[in-house]
């Protein structure tokens, strides 16, 4: 958080000079949010890029004071969520309903760069990621966005509420509804149940 305050101050003083640092600091999370909302790597990369471009343009119009006061984490998250929602809507309009199953691409090894693990463990973890990402993609849009920001991205309830422009109470309810649905779905997943047994054995 302190790092973000310092970054916002640098952006306020010299947008062009500090923008690269903003991209470096936030690209993984913006990409992750978009990927978990959209389920497709290419869409996620385009949305993340678009979000940065919008952030840049917005800041170019803001005065220094307004940039300094930006809370970068929830602000950038809100841009990605909105762009993802728009893209999803466009995709939905173009795609016939039968093909609406979310294409889930979980990111494979990249999500778990744990070299120490045995191939078996790695494969099991990959499977967990895939299952979880698929379960997440099955959530309704509201709870999904809330869970992604709150638990994948790690925003606080207050920040999540700010990013989603919803009351905190609504966010809390959506997060717990989302978690409950995930838990239910994962409990019925045989592979994951086996994996969990292995880990706790």
């Amino acid at each position: 958080m302190d790092a973000d305050l310092a970054l916002a101050a640098r952006l306020a003083a010299d947008l062009d000079g500090a923008f690269r640092a903003l991209v470096t600091a936030h690209q993984d999370r913006l990409y992750t949010i978009a990927l978990r909302l959209l389920g497709d790597h290419r869409d996620a990369e385009e949305v993340a890029q678009d979000a940065f471009v919008r952030a840049y343009r917005a800041m170019a119009d803001y005065d220094a004071e307004r940039i300094r006061e930006l809370r970068l984490r929830p602000w950038l998250a809100s841009i990605v969520v909105n762009l993802s929602r728009n893209r999803r809507r466009r995709l939905d309009e173009r795609t016939p309903p039968l093909q609406l199953e979310p294409i889930v691409d979980a990111g494979g090894d990249a999500a778990f760069p744990d070299r120490g693990a045995t191939p078996h463990e790695r494969a099991a973890r990959r499977e967990t990621v895939r299952t979880l990402a698929a379960a997440l993609a099955d959530l309704p849009p509201g709870p999904r966005a809330a869970v992604v920001l709150r638990h994948v991205d790690g925003l606080s309830v207050t920040e999540t509420a700010a990013a989603l422009d919803r009351p905190e109470g609504t966010v809390k309810a959506q997060v717990s509804r989302g978690l409950a649905a995930l838990r239910l779905q994962l409990a019925h997943d045989p592979d994951l149940a086996a994996h969990r047994r292995e880990l706790t054995a």
């Binding site: 923008f19 690269r20 991209v23 993984d28 969990r196």
Partner: protein, 279 residues
């Protein structure tokens, strides 16, 4: 990050809740390596470059999200990169090819189509320099205008030398056709993209005859009039080219044309840049 456990976990065992939240936190994926550069290029904080054909041989074109930022003759890529970074102050990255829409726009511009929209990144130019370059964009293919014409057209009639300097520093030659601007006495003048001989080459490729242009200049012919319409033009104006030889009347000055009862062509506007005639 601390694991947050939902309250009142009646059914699910606590370790599963913990598992779920940490597993969700583990869904983070590193952004693809291409994202940062693509983003910086999109906002114009980095550039890409690739080669295109031109009448002067292969050229290298640099661009970013704001438009074309640089045009140069193709040569040693490393030297180009170093020069670009030194002059422009941004890194430039080789791309496979110029994007199709950009390549099409450059080709259309080189072919003389001035209607096609082309985005130019002219950051770092002064207001005056930008006005000079924008004015040069208006000069049709196969025609030339004197430096003084640009100076007068942009409302700075005395800044002829500054116009020359601005054109010499044109970052996007060929695309902004600074080669179509010649000295006020009609001689061919300098050219940043390979000197006067390259300027002759490109003007010839555009359908002008540089030799006759310079011969006319040496003979003191600055303007051509038609004794049927009594309109006077700059010698390369497409209206001047249509005057048949028996009706063609050369003038050394606009004052002489004015005295003979000729009015200035409304397309090439020869009045601009002439001290002799007061509009």
């Amino acid at each position: 990050m601390t694991a947050r456990r939902p309250s009142g976990a009646a059914a699910a065992a606590p370790d599963i809740d913990l598992d779920l939240e940490s597993a969700l936190a583990g869904l983070t994926v590193p952004a693809p390596e291409t994202l940062a550069l693509a983003t910086l290029v999109a906002v114009g904080l980095a550039d890409r470059c690739a080669e295109l054909p031109s009448p002067l041989g292969p050229i290298v074109v640099a661009w970013n999200g704001r438009g074309i930022s640089w045009v140069d003759r193709a040569g040693d890529p490393d030297a180009f990169g170093a020069r670009f970074e030194r002059v422009v102050g941004r890194p430039v990255h080789r791309a496979e090819a110029v994007p199709a829409d950009l390549a099409r726009a450059v080709a259309a511009r080189l072919a003389g189509d001035r209607r096609i929209r082309i985005k130019l990144d002219l950051r770092g130019r002064t207001e005056f320099e930008t006005a000079v370059l924008m004015k040069a964009l208006e000069i049709p293919r196969g025609e030339v205008r004197p430096y003084g014409w640009i100076a007068a057209e942009i409302g700075r009639p005395k800044a002829v030398r500054a116009v020359g300097t601005a054109l010499a520093h044109n970052p996007v030659p060929l695309v902004v056709p600074c080669h179509r601007v010649v000295r006020s006495d009609g001689s061919i003048g300098q050219y940043s993209l390979g000197g006067p001989s390259a300027k002759r080459t490109i003007l010839a490729a555009e359908g002008l005859d540089p030799a006759s242009l310079e011969a006319g200049a040496r003979a003191g012919i600055r303007f051509l009039g038609s004794d049927t319409t009594h309109v006077v033009c700059l010698p390369t104006c497409h209206n001047a080219k249509r005057i048949t030889p028996q009706h063609r009347v050369p003038f050394r000055s606009l004052a002489a044309a004015d005295a003979a009862g000729y009015r200035a062509c409304r397309e090439c506007r020869p009045a601009a840049g002439s001290r002799a005639i007061a509009a």
